[in-house]
Symmetry: C2
Subunit: 487 residues, 2 copies
Amino acid sequence: MLFTIYSTLARKKEIFTPQNAPHVGMYVCGPTVYGDPHLGHARSAITFDLLFRYLAFLGYKVRYVRNITDVGHLENDSDYGDDKLLKKARLEQLEPMEIAKYYTDRYHDMMDALNVRRPSIEPNASGHIMEQIDMVQQILDAGFAYIVNGSVYFDVIKYNQQYRYGQLSGRVVEDLLSSTRDNLEGQEEKRNSVDFALWKKAQPEHIMRWRSPWSEGFPGWHLECSAMGRKYLGDKFDIHGGGMDLLFPHHESEIAQSQIANGDTPCQYWMHNNMITVNGQKMGKSLGNSIMLDEFFTGSHPLLAQAYTPMTVRFFILQAHYRSTLDFSNDALQAAEKGLKRLMQAVKTLNNLQPSATDDNNIIKNIETECYDALNDDLNSPIAISQLFEAVRIINSVADKKEKLNANDIERLKKLFHNVAFDILGLKDEQSGNQNELLNNLVKMIVDLRQQSKEKKDWETSDNIRKQLTELGITVKDTKDGTEWVV
Amino acid sequence: MLFTIYSTLARKKEIFTPQNAPHVGMYVCGPTVYGDPHLGHARSAITFDLLFRYLAFLGYKVRYVRNITDVGHLENDSDYGDDKLLKKARLEQLEPMEIAKYYTDRYHDMMDALNVRRPSIEPNASGHIMEQIDMVQQILDAGFAYIVNGSVYFDVIKYNQQYRYGQLSGRVVEDLLSSTRDNLEGQEEKRNSVDFALWKKAQPEHIMRWRSPWSEGFPGWHLECSAMGRKYLGDKFDIHGGGMDLLFPHHESEIAQSQIANGDTPCQYWMHNNMITVNGQKMGKSLGNSIMLDEFFTGSHPLLAQAYTPMTVRFFILQAHYRSTLDFSNDALQAAEKGLKRLMQAVKTLNNLQPSATDDNNIIKNIETECYDALNDDLNSPIAISQLFEAVRIINSVADKKEKLNANDIERLKKLFHNVAFDILGLKDEQSGNQNELLNNLVKMIVDLRQQSKEKKDWETSDNIRKQLTELGITVKDTKDGTEWVV
């Protein structure tokens, strides 16, 4: 089965065919660095990390560009100088770039914790003002933008006469026009409410400003991705990804900008991850139900019953298909925590499994095929994970001597877990590390001492040891083959 | 004693007096991201991290700007299109920004490992081309630069008639003129060999290029620090730091640029950390004796007898005064490793010290005073550390019941270690962390089990336990007060 991905533009799954294999160019909308990263950031980053990892696994050489929005993040209905980042800057009496640096670091730290691979290039909007000015000029020269009071707006109505504004989102300009209120603050400069800013003249209170042929100001929000995608990946690249909340107007406007400036839409495949809901409601800062990643890791949010490790959060996200909504609940996260532990325990069991002289097991081969088929089918991680759990069942059954596997099948399973669980899904055993080895050795020592006291019929000591270990969160199981234990 | 720092420009120690206390603006030259960070990077970063931490300790609000040089790092005698970063990019067939991103991440990871606090703002040269172009234009407008074939050069001879080129480094323009060879490649465009490039026209093979009023090209290397320092810290800020190798021509040229563009030298205090030598020879890539930080951490360099932890490297660097040369040797690093362990062990001992009903100990008060006096005296970290070791001697002596301290003095010592060792010197106990607590509990369990077997006169078990612990690298000491142990 060939790798297929769902193209938001084509509205169907398509076989992935890069333009210059083995090279793949991929652009994903990164964070706006004026606040702490939340679960939504994690979902988008993990979705496209899965894609990045899978493409690498398939042998592609991927240049993955993920931007940092550190200026002028303007929203559709309030894009008149109301720069979120600056609001915060004035509030905290700080240089905007100081805030941007702080939250960029926070984002990086959280992404590292989630085992999200770092992108190949991570350009920031403030560092590409010239490229954005050039693009505005190109659009002006082509006649698809107009200047009012030092600001430049994209003429959506004119564009829509020749191309289709709405081809990605399915929106219709006429409907948009009738539904948008024309009298919102800052709308009065536009010829039409659907037009969007390419360049905004800075109001006197604006700290972040650059000179341009039109005014001292700052670029419109949609522009940075078009300009930076083009700079690092070329006029037309393979994949553009982002959260579904960016589909309109952000990505729709990117298409319009690239169509005029580059003569073509910016990419072959548009991919969008779905949103996270809390009890069925969209998660969002403005709704007050947004949980920061740091709060997950420390358990410090009223909605959280406990702390969840970064890998639990990652596993929770991967257990849903990226195009489905993912509903947050403590139950679901606790289930993910248990499932991940079971998976990681099975990997250890697998490494100690004794092979038998028996035939190849067709179920193992089948699990392998199903796993990769799922990934090839638009990155269906939940199906791939369920296949891994099928493997876990067999591994535990073999460990319990209820089933047998030959050396060949054991190797096959090891490879499957190595590739799918670790390389592609990007899971990791959070217990591992250098200290862990020492820790394991110490527990082994204690378990052996307990065994010795049992042999000496010193039940008091052996019971005490078990009790103390339990208090430290270490469970000891006596099996036919000796003593097993789990931290 | 007031905080004094050695000003390279004044050639003497001066009382540190910021212009807008409690705010302090500080700029330090960061890495060129075309290679892996080495010991020299660590020394500069740790020196100014000590300054950053000490200023914060003194109550200043510091805006610390450390740049990332990701374009056009031109060297004095070969600044004709010979961009180091691009050389590597062509070699590896990569987009320059992809290499820059990789090595920026490497630098950040190493600095995190060394417990170097992150700067407040970390601007990159490629993201501030407009600001650099503006500064070139200002210098041109002032008549201190000239254009040749699309490149712009700073007129050092003209500048030197009015100001003094060489005021920082002590060099004399006439001497420089007679010693510089005029016929080096790329020198022919300059009016005089001492002039330096503000803007270079890009040769056809140059990938990194930006439009400018003079040519498609890239900024001269000295320019980025002047432009970014001014942007984020103002025309004249408090401290400019960097390695002594940057004193000339880089910082000398920065002074000239700012003098003309801003009407003043860029800062109040110039501070320079000295170099690292290997057997008395300068450490440098071109000399083949440059050891990368990663090689220290893994022990994978022929000159290294073993791996050294990041904290050992940090402690080794802090054990020399920043203005002295620091000679690398395995002996010195091993001594640092031992010293750091001794210090950290003493902190643990201190936390368990029993107070006695005795008078205040004047020596403790004296150690405290000497420690802060040393730091106030141009950040004399080796003296401060030697005072901490004096405290260690007393702590161990009290633990051995040879001396006594009252509760007041014990608190005083705890505060001293907290402030000086951890907060200001930025040392940390590498054994600490979450797992460490579990580890400690497990060792405690084993030590208790050993105690029990001794009480039962089960010498075989108790000896075995000791032997096994030793094999795991854990040393058990029997003292009068019970059992102590060190991992």
